[in-house]
Subunit: 467 residues, 2 copies
Amino acid sequence: METLSVPHARPLPNGFLDRLSARFGLQCQTSEAIRAQHGASESQYPTVLPDAVVFARSTQDVVDCVNLCREAGVAIVPFGAGTSLEGHTLPLEGGVSLDLTPMDAVLAVNHADFDCTVQPGIRREALNAHLRDSGLFFPIDPGANASIGGMASTRASGTNAVRYGTMREAVLGLEVVTPQGKVIRTGKRAKKSAAGYDLTRLYIGSEGTLGVITGITLRLHPVPEAIMAATCPFETLSGAIETVVQAFHCGVPMARIELLDAMQVHAVNLRSKLGLPEAPTLFFEFHGTPNGVAEQVETVKGLASANGGGAFQWATLAEDRNRLWRARHESYYAAVNLRPGAIGLTTDVCVPMSRLAECILATRADLDSCSVPATILGHVGDGNFHLVFSIDPNAPHEMAEVEAVNHRMVARALAMDGTCTGEHGVGIGKQQCLIDELGEDAVDVMRTLKQVLDPGNIFNPGKIFRS
Amino acid sequence: METLSVPHARPLPNGFLDRLSARFGLQCQTSEAIRAQHGASESQYPTVLPDAVVFARSTQDVVDCVNLCREAGVAIVPFGAGTSLEGHTLPLEGGVSLDLTPMDAVLAVNHADFDCTVQPGIRREALNAHLRDSGLFFPIDPGANASIGGMASTRASGTNAVRYGTMREAVLGLEVVTPQGKVIRTGKRAKKSAAGYDLTRLYIGSEGTLGVITGITLRLHPVPEAIMAATCPFETLSGAIETVVQAFHCGVPMARIELLDAMQVHAVNLRSKLGLPEAPTLFFEFHGTPNGVAEQVETVKGLASANGGGAFQWATLAEDRNRLWRARHESYYAAVNLRPGAIGLTTDVCVPMSRLAECILATRADLDSCSVPATILGHVGDGNFHLVFSIDPNAPHEMAEVEAVNHRMVARALAMDGTCTGEHGVGIGKQQCLIDELGEDAVDVMRTLKQVLDPGNIFNPGKIFRS
């Protein structure tokens, strides 16, 4: 996380907005309210207004908008649900916020192949609602009800990634509009391919800097025969973490294994009335055959008990499970709201399992001497965890204090051979961290790719790298 | 597969071999025997001699060789086990074959994290021998005892991919020497990361055209508690395929599910004395807990029986299992040797599961009217299958006939939304297929990446795209 410098809006060429309006009519909006909505984010960054918002209804709309922007040298920032956490959708150089939410169709569900093709604007909950009677589901779940296009752009993962992988594994192929206005398809529907460079993975996680994703073919998974979810409180944070590490070592194919520290459980209780004991807690979900789930539960209960875990509280009905995971998903808001009027700042790292306990405990100790309230929670089965700070916007020293804690946590994770971000992405705040992690030469390769694929630097300028 | 045009060897600048020799001494070899060994391949392509072979012992050796070649404009072709199947290691423009087999160390095994870091020259069987007492194994198994660097370069997969994924999923990070002679690291050891462009996946499958892989950090997996393997003959090819498709639909987490057609079983019996009934046959392997494996076996036996499957023949002892899979792995040689003195040509496609039966049956019908003997076998749990032709080198019409069958199979797979190669790669033979699959605009993006990352076109020129 770094301080957001004052954005340098590019001057709009004469007549650009008129040309945009002539092409897009009411799909082009310049009211302050709509611009503000697209220039705000869920994170700590101040609002930055785009010059216009274009609502795309088709790939052709995207092509035309890209061509108009490229010809005019105007920046273009793809926008989905706006739920990303590193300022990805902020139009740092003004220009057009390209809202893809009208492109929210499910184009095909191939039941026999466990895949589907969707437009980028559909949100993950809507996709799963669409799939409800198919016996299939889309597992990637970053918490927020994000758009699938945004999830691909940021290489999202979340609670189910420990079992089902991240967006990197979930996407079979993309349709992308390049900065040159070409429409390319990066892959077909085969489960694997060795045909040429992996363009799919190049665009996944590129944070809108290389093109606009206009179609996504996704792997789906059969709804498991048996699903069980539970929470378990622990005497100590280290006992909870040790349980996770041991479950990993035993090869238990957990579907979800989430850690909430005591302060996070307190926040969740306040917001979602779960009534959980306010101790470090694991949230579990087990998927499989009935026998397979029973085996997993038995193993994990044994591990928990040996590590100071209390009684498992089961959510057996689907509605109880949904309530539990909704509470987990609202953890961010719950934590931010620990202080009235606070703004949130969240950050994440991911480390090898062998260092997870050490990394979390050292970070918790650092937080305990920080004056800003903060919680720890995370997708610990992957070695990934988050901090959520609840910052007083009228106390400037708090942001500086938080930045120092974040900086120390990232340095700690990198020293453990981990990454500066497991799932939030680089965006605005982790550009120096990326260099610290992989080195200037590797980041130079990325800059070279950006420069050659988007020579006018019109796509989401200022993200991942400085413009 | 296309006809190999006469290679255009670049003229070596004066004194280049002297400079190479001065730097590398006996690590640089120019004898015809060693050059011929590095200019041959396991496939149908004629031998193409490099001007020299350099045996790299360290990343610094690679850097120095790359710098010498770049400064002289000499081509450089990374070489591992030489087991690839699309002519990847043939030095089409002469130059240096950079043999990485001396770099075969296991640099670290992190037992608690289920990962290891190796040099590129180690072969997969040697890696698994090294891991033997660790309780961990490296699952990716393309059949051949390939080098890990080569497997990363070609995005290899193989028999276990249906359960454990391909090299795309297996690699956590790479060390790469770029054409500029820089050493970069593309990722650390965290299980996931959202930090910047996915350089790891860019180099995986780039077939040596973008740089030299000098280090690989791999995910490992715990050896399952229970392993069972079996074969099952079927009355019909379609019954065998239908069993695979239904096992996929039931979500059975098969570790291996391999198809051999009747002629392939005949070939394997001849070579490996397995004594199997010469019918379309599935080879299975089940991994899990004892109860989990028992459940899987029960489900699959039921499916097989309903689809005309015969008795399961179990390989319960580890040595029987190894014998079975060794026979499977030698299928290629077994099929080629169906005719004395024949040369082999193998090709593969991968299609969505819903089209697998149609694709295989139409291809088998096409083969039945082809005068060249050919077998079908494949990693059908992924929708991936191979043809192996046994071609008389003295009958030129045979190669033309085989090319036509291959062309029709690729066209059939693409029309079914599949890929022109599931795992063999593009190399020399599938360059037009790649364009047919993804279109000129997508391949242009790949060409752009190649041109900017390797502006002198020194890295494995002529592969994936025409130089």
